[in-house]
Symmetry: C2
Subunit: 640 residues, 2 copies
């Protein structure tokens, strides 16, 4: 029995303890002993000095005029005054420009503006000047032998200038760590190839390489290796002599194919096998032949978290950078979050400033998500032992985006429409960053009511009046502001040619029809449930009613890929994916606005862009939209 033969449990270790253990063992092996090289100053930008640097010449290296004017002997100027100008003949002054050496015998400079030139070539001056007046003296900026920089200083552009000026042409710097990344796993394939089911495109090494290079490493990417212990072992033996750090990707889970672990255990010492963090659990920290060898998890979010939390501190220790660059911001959690009790959990979030406090919205969690890595503004750490963070709780968010970007972000939540993405793309032209989070129409109403967002997309069907948004909102909110956006055509997305001849909602109950649904509380779901109840169709009759997708496009994709026959979505996604479409009704998709945001100049920009021909062109290319009411603002203060 294959399954019984496997090592199932990792011995999980706390992150702090694991890192401390690993760093201290690396210190013992001499890994952090400074290795240095001499390089030209012209190639030393961003390099880290291995030792203090001293000036080899003075800056400036001679006495010079600090202004344009005449060089004089200060002793000749003693009696000069406005009432009795002192006349100096040609032998007693010399014209000098800024930077010119002081002529022999002269010790001060009078600015050209303060000199009266006479026709006979002599001059008049009106003030006495002290010795060295307007003279830049040798060594004024740097004296030779001065210490210019301490050890471990990272060289900035202006530092290179100063080094050259001070006669230092070569510097001894810390060598860059030589790293090699080895993707592993039988399932890994060239990302540029046509993908088959079961094969995973190798997309981690490009992340690992860029990430490490930014931290000052030289990084090579090895050809991917399959799950073959012999090949892994021989690659390791081949790479160790020429590299400071070897990173395997994948193969570190406790699954059937934990070959990297087995190889490292056999050829070296595994100090850590498993971290009690999420994502990032299946991590291996080993030392082989006195060198660090790390097994990174293969899931992107896990891989990224381990790079941030484990590999980065190792490279910082290599470069002796004592300052952590961690920057925290206090923010209010916009939604209740559950977390694993046994692990520290890193939750990626989006951030925005709404009504004078920061709000954070958790992004997709799992280890496998890549898109949340590209969208995040920061990370919340939910410590081990904490199971839940309540909505409205203040948390410390570790920032990855700049504060300026966050302050500049307009947060859009609620229901999803592809036009919102297109709008955000146009808003960038006006310097406005729109962050979009899909939580459904009701989620959007909730977010605006609690001031957790600036804008929310809503299409809320009121079954009594059979109209959208206004009746619904009147029931839910005392005071609201709505901006009319688009009418859009909802209907049944079916496969090209409509092979199952789906004509109406009644067909959903057919046994040969597989449906794909939207998530609860989404406007589309509410609409569906209304029609089903009106038509007397029992949801339990519908094959696939429980399978929920978060967006129109996700629904259409399931149909495109033959995983379902039909779903309810807007006409636009059927057009996009070249599917057929059975129209059902026009619905109104509008923007609910945080009342305080009405006066924000950014809201004006959004209205502006919505009214622009650029946006109208985008809409006209998309089927199933009607923008006759676009931009009309409705504000209601009800008497709830």
């Amino acid at each position: 029995m294959q399954a019984l033969d496997r090592k199932i449990y990792l011995k999980k270790m706390d992150l702090d303890r694991a890192l401390e253990l690993y760093l201290s063992r690396l210190r013992e092996t001499g890994f952090f002993q400074p290795r240095t090289e001499n390089i030209k100053v012209s190639e030393a930008l961003d390099r880290v000095l291995a030792r203090a640097v001293f000036a080899l010449r003075s800056v400036p290296h001679y006495n010079s005029a600090a202004v344009d004017g005449i060089a004089v002997r200060s002793s000749d100027t003693v009696q000069a005054s406005k009432h009795a100008p002192k006349r100096l003949d040609r032998d007693h002054f010399a014209i000098v420009n800024t930077g010119q050496p002081m002529p022999e015998g002269f010790d001060a400079v009078i600015m050209i503006e303060d000199v009266h030139f006479l026709e006979d070539g002599s001059v008049e001056i009106f003030e006495p000047v002290p010795s060295f007046h307007n003279v830049r003296t040798i060594g004024e900026d740097v004296v030779e032998y001065d210490m210019l920089f301490c050890r471990y200083h990272r060289l900035a552009p202006q530092d290179l200038s100063l080094l050259l000026a001070a006669g230092v042409f070569e510097v001894e710097v810390l060598k860059k760590p030589e790293c090699v990344v080895v993707p592993t796993g039988d399932e890994i394939v060239d990302p540029y190839s046509e993908l088959k089911e079961g094969s995973i495109p190798e997309t981690n090494s490009i992340l690992v390489k860029a990430f490490l290079e930014r931290l000052g490493a030289n990084v090579k990417v090895h050809d991917p290796l399959g799950d073959d212990p012999t090949k892994l072992a021989s690659a390791l033996q081949e790479l160790l002599p020429t590299h400071d750090l070897v990173l395997f990707i994948g193969g570190s889970s406790a699954g059937q194919k934990d070959y990297v672990y087995r190889v490292l255990e056999k050829h070296g010492e595994v100090l850590v096998h498993g971290l009690s963090i999420r994502p990032g659990k299946p991590t291996i920290l080993a030392i082989v032949e006195e060198k660090p060898v790390i097994g990174l998890p293969g899931f992107p979010a896990s891989c990224f978290t381990v790079l941030e939390r484990v590999v980065k501190p190792i490279l910082q220790a290599w470069y002796r950078s004592s300052e952590s660059d961690e920057d925290f911001l206090e923010a209010e959690v916009a939604t209740r979050m559950f977390s694993s009790v046994g692990d520290d959990e890193f939750v990626r979030v989006m951030l925005a400033k709404v009504k004078d406090r920061y709000v954070c919205v958790p992004l997709k969690r799992g280890a496998a998500t890549m898109s949340s890595l590209t969208k995040m503004d920061g990370t919340i750490v939910v410590p081990k032992g904490q199971e839940v963070i309540d909505e409205g709780k203040k948390v410390q968010v570790l920032l990855t985006a700049s504060r300026k970007r966050i302050d500049n972000t307009v947060l859009f939540v609620g229901s999803n429409d592809p036009l919102i993405d297109r709008l955000s793309d146009l808003l960038i032209e006006r310097g406005l960053n729109l962050s979009v989070v899909n939580v459904g129409s009701l989620g959007g109403v909730r977010a605006i009511a609690k001031s957790y967002a600036h804008l929310a997309g809503v299409h809320l069907f009121d079954s009594e009046s059979e109209t959208y948004n206004l009746p619904f909102l009147r029931k839910m909110m005392k005071h609201f502001v709505l901006v009319k956006f688009v009418k859009r055509l909802q209907g049944l997305v079916v496969q090209k040619g409509n092979p199952k001849s789906i004509k109406s909602l009644h067909d959903l109950a057919r046994r040969d029809v597989k449906f794909v649904n939207r998530q609860k509380a989404s406007g589309t779901r509410i609409l569906l449930d209304y029609y089903l109840s009106k038509l007397g169709i029992d949801p339990r009759q519908i094959n696939g009613y429980e399978k929920e997708e978060l967006t129109h496009a996700a629904v259409a994709l399931k149909i495109k890929r033959n995983l379902a026959d039909v779903g309810l979505a807007v006409s636009y996604v059927a057009q996009l994916m070249d599917l057929d479409f059975v129209p059902l009704c026009w619905e109104e998709y509008d923007l609910l606005v945080l009342p305080e945001f009405l006066k924000d100049e950014r809201f004006g920009i959004i209205l502006d862009v919505m009214a622009s021909s650029d946006f109208k062109n985008v809409v006209s290319e998309s089927s199933g939209y009607d923008i006759s009411d676009l931009g009309r603002v409705v504000e209601e203060v009800g008497s709830l």
Copy 2:
């Protein structure tokens, strides 16, 4: 008359107005029209997208197991419970590992830990699972056609992974601006050469190049050109067709040789000639053949300021980066500052956190200083019209260092000793950043009394008792903490071989002897004045008494370079510069400590390092030091 023929006054323009004018004219010329190129994703790190990017395939691209376990039909699991496990035979499940495609017909996965394997090859399960349980569905992360990034997004490492996963192998990005830097001036020479008087090493281009490259430009450096209008004009004509931005350095002052201005005026349109900022006044902003041509000032601090204030916003506009990265910190000014009324003045400062507020200490001002550029933590802008900033005033400091670095900084002011630099170099090993500002012993006492520093170096001679520091401090401060540092040998530094046979202070009054002094309020100056008065020597008799230098090394350098015959300094600098030395007395150089800093763990580190063999080795290599009392802490609470 050469001098009359020159253009003396620039028409200075306010920075904001000049920048607005220039940017709007560049917009008109089409300079900011996006120019784009297609590049491989693997080469796209840090590049800026020219347009929104959409996914070409879904991530993941197939349905797969999200955990290691068995794939089942959810409908088969309905009746399973802990009390009545459901048995599935070999046809009704399949072993799957994380990432493997879901086998045909199965729609859910049960984790391996929750499965009981039986000897006959069948399994028992204990819970019902819904459809798609533990299944990663196609498009869960990204649906094909999803917009992945807006236009003008700068690609981070994780973005590259996502692009590859989503089947995007090439992206259209904004081209890098092609820049060329042309150093000018007859006085400019190769920095690697032996320098003559009057020649200036060309050290600006390395700064300009690195600075622009960091902002995403491609930068070439042209060979330096002399002050030859014909050559300047033909270089300009040659460079314009192949570059987006041409930067001349130097030649833009209103001095005799303002050739760059003349050439630009002749061949194009000069929009701005002179900015009302300090440093940075002699700046030229021109447009030639619809392209920006900028004349940067030649003085390093001016050049740097114009790069920061003018060139950086142009490149940011090129890349559409709407967020300013300006970060301000409120700090208290540690010393009264005077500023020019007619200009915005940019004053570089060092920053530290002392007693729960930030303190800023202005660095050297002038346009010519390079060392202040390498030492600064930030800049204060003293606006036009403001003549003075009083000590203790709160100002906004524009940060160039990170907040973490500033929070980690120990601020050392007061008298100068070369051992302090060496100490700071050793402290880095312990993760401690010591910023050193030389303001003399009395300045140090003042800074500690007002809590403007953590530590101050003092050697304060008390003439009554003829001893150092303690008697003096008792008179000045109610409560103080002193850490004994070193005794050092003060004396007369003279030229090698002592050609003028200087034997005592009496020789300073000789007519053939040229003296170089230290600044007022420095401990060495106080000592000198005491001895002179004791010996009855009138300072007015001393040739060079008015010439003040700020450090021991600066004094020694003047003697080394034959600009003076003698000065009062510590023995160590004579050794360093291979000069002769006439001993005068041992003085005590100690560290005055902010009382609150005593309990700071960083103070413990400093005492530690002072006591280390590393530091003692440094001292033993330096002549004229006695460290028998090193590290003793004296705290006195007087009854002033």
